[in-house]
Subunit: 425 residues, 2 copies
Amino acid sequence: MWGAGHSLEPFWEKFPIHYKHEVFELLEEYRIGNLKIDKTKKKPVEEKVDFYREEPKRSSRLKVLSQKPFNAESPKELSAENLITPSELHFVRNHMPVPKIDPKSFKLSIMNDNNGKNIELSLEDLETKFESITIPVTIQCSGNKRKYMNEQNPVQGLQWDANAISTALWTGVRLRDVLIHCGFDLNDPRIRHVIFEGLDKDPSGSVYAASIPIEKVKDDNGEVLLAYKMNNQPIPLDNGYPLRALVPGIIGARSVKWLGKIILSEEESQSFWQLNDYKVLPPSVKNLKEADFKKLRAIQESPITSAICQPAEGNVVKRENGKFTAKGYAFSGGGNDVLNVLVSIDNGKNWKQAALHKFDSPLYKSWAWVLWECELDIPQDQDQIEVVCTATDSNQNTQPESISSIWNARGLLNNAWHKVKVKIE
Amino acid sequence: MWGAGHSLEPFWEKFPIHYKHEVFELLEEYRIGNLKIDKTKKKPVEEKVDFYREEPKRSSRLKVLSQKPFNAESPKELSAENLITPSELHFVRNHMPVPKIDPKSFKLSIMNDNNGKNIELSLEDLETKFESITIPVTIQCSGNKRKYMNEQNPVQGLQWDANAISTALWTGVRLRDVLIHCGFDLNDPRIRHVIFEGLDKDPSGSVYAASIPIEKVKDDNGEVLLAYKMNNQPIPLDNGYPLRALVPGIIGARSVKWLGKIILSEEESQSFWQLNDYKVLPPSVKNLKEADFKKLRAIQESPITSAICQPAEGNVVKRENGKFTAKGYAFSGGGNDVLNVLVSIDNGKNWKQAALHKFDSPLYKSWAWVLWECELDIPQDQDQIEVVCTATDSNQNTQPESISSIWNARGLLNNAWHKVKVKIE
């Protein structure tokens, strides 16, 4: 689409992730003929530019899913032990190259689409003119656990295991405070959405963008932040330096990194990622070509979910100990607290309650995951067991047992019971 | 407990629902001996008073579960067709006799537990001094569909089928407006809960009571009402005449009927129904005697749920038509909208999307159910099919497939897939 009428090569170089079988197969259908190149008229070969030549250095402990753009999970074992993920081990979901931004000349632009009102703020303005808060927030990619959905029936997207989710202490100023201070009228009924535009660009100059409903920003219980620190340090390059939107309780795709512009608008963002992606298709739509994205609401809050991080699939536990300990995380969007995590080794016939470790958080403001831990008896007569977990949140919502009713062609929001097979020796 | 040191008879007369096998069995364990009555000293027999002698007349179309106190479901077929339930067919959940209240002398008392501030308002004050709003609100008993949970493993409580849920147009004033107008300081950190006391009493004079967190009342998106009209008429006696609390998105138990008193408090209501009932026990607790209610949070918001109302269990559909139509409702608490209802006749292998009929409602303020309708093909080779439905809400939460992970000894919040067997002829 972006290439319509133009050469596809620049996109191809920027998104090498598309050099794969499924994409060639898809494009083959649209072949309408072959161009015959007149070699006598051939232009000199332009030097190939690697759009990703200035990417930051990354920890070798990240589980890389794609290099260009960079996408990587947090190490699984971390999420069993650490309420706070160290910044360099936070999962990374980039859509394009990491932009280089000079913090001294950086200006955040905020505008009201309805009346053209436009203001600019420097980082110093943000850091000095408003009350800053520091809160633990879990960010989760809505594709987390897509791998398991793909096993049921193929889905499109990065094959995330269960660790496209991490938690950091984020410091920033409330977007509501900034908007009110700058004289934007949040009760203007024409302001229905808040659009965030990143400074990360594709070769045509289009930036990553997404939006959230204005209600989220106005909400007394909401804490939509303009964040400039992660774990009490400047935000690392991969996580949005020098400024990012941070929308607690909402899928990661709306917490736009390298934030450059905010637009108050009657319409939601018209970006691909808002309108034609990050939406849950019904399970009857098996192929994205049949998808009518217009009819669907863009995902915002995410449902209750949980995962087993220890032991990992295929790990061995010793029979002689008689017991072993399973550990993992549980998280619910929308500020909902996790009330309960249940663990089973007989596929849900019997459940044991896990102990929970969590941050203290005010009612309706639980923006971070809980970690859980559960000691289980090793059965006498099996040499392999499957550990299963499921969680309940403060709305009393629980997870679906199977993927059956939640399977969707984009592989989003897989919150079915997580299962891990363990060997006993 | 209530009877400690006193005669149990008055309670027995008031709650004849307890004249049943399980209760006698339970009490048998606590027998410490038999009183020998000296017949010469016997007091004259007091005339038995029927505490329920002045109950209102009720529609014969209600499906009665208990007469004293009166508990009845709305007719199932209604919930397939009517977004608004007629007042006389709204489900009824009474805990005690319906109190007789004179609207002319009626005063609502509101007090701040922390400083003793106390005010009184007449019905006329409420109806004339504040902005009134009329909104469609679904009230659901948290025991709705308990019958199906009981089939899995016995649970305590009224054996509700799927229609302890109804929707009416409720008119009232916002509790927040009233509290602010009357000079209560909602930002006082000592005010953490809002306690509602009814005027319905047990023989000892204790009233029905429940509470909600103050956040619900302060919430910009919240619409906690003091309601005095139902479907544009005075509220019927069974539904709380002349005034009731109405807490949209929260289980029915907190929308206290025959409201007499509101207390702003640091503690939640100390009533039995708040502290020792209406809480979801973990599935490992098979018996209420093992329950540690103190460790559990009182249920407030309810999870996503749905039900099939037509055809009903055992109904016959004609093969010659080739198709039949299933209908029902779906509802989610907390102001969450229902996005999608899926229907299957092969236990979830394949799903069809249902058409939805719903009220227009602002974002985060979907306080009412949606009705759904789905045309299904009759399979050639079966003379019986099972229809299954499940729904998704705007937090992308879905329903659990089975009762396995949500079973609880009080039989509350059964939101597992609803199933109905239909004969084909």
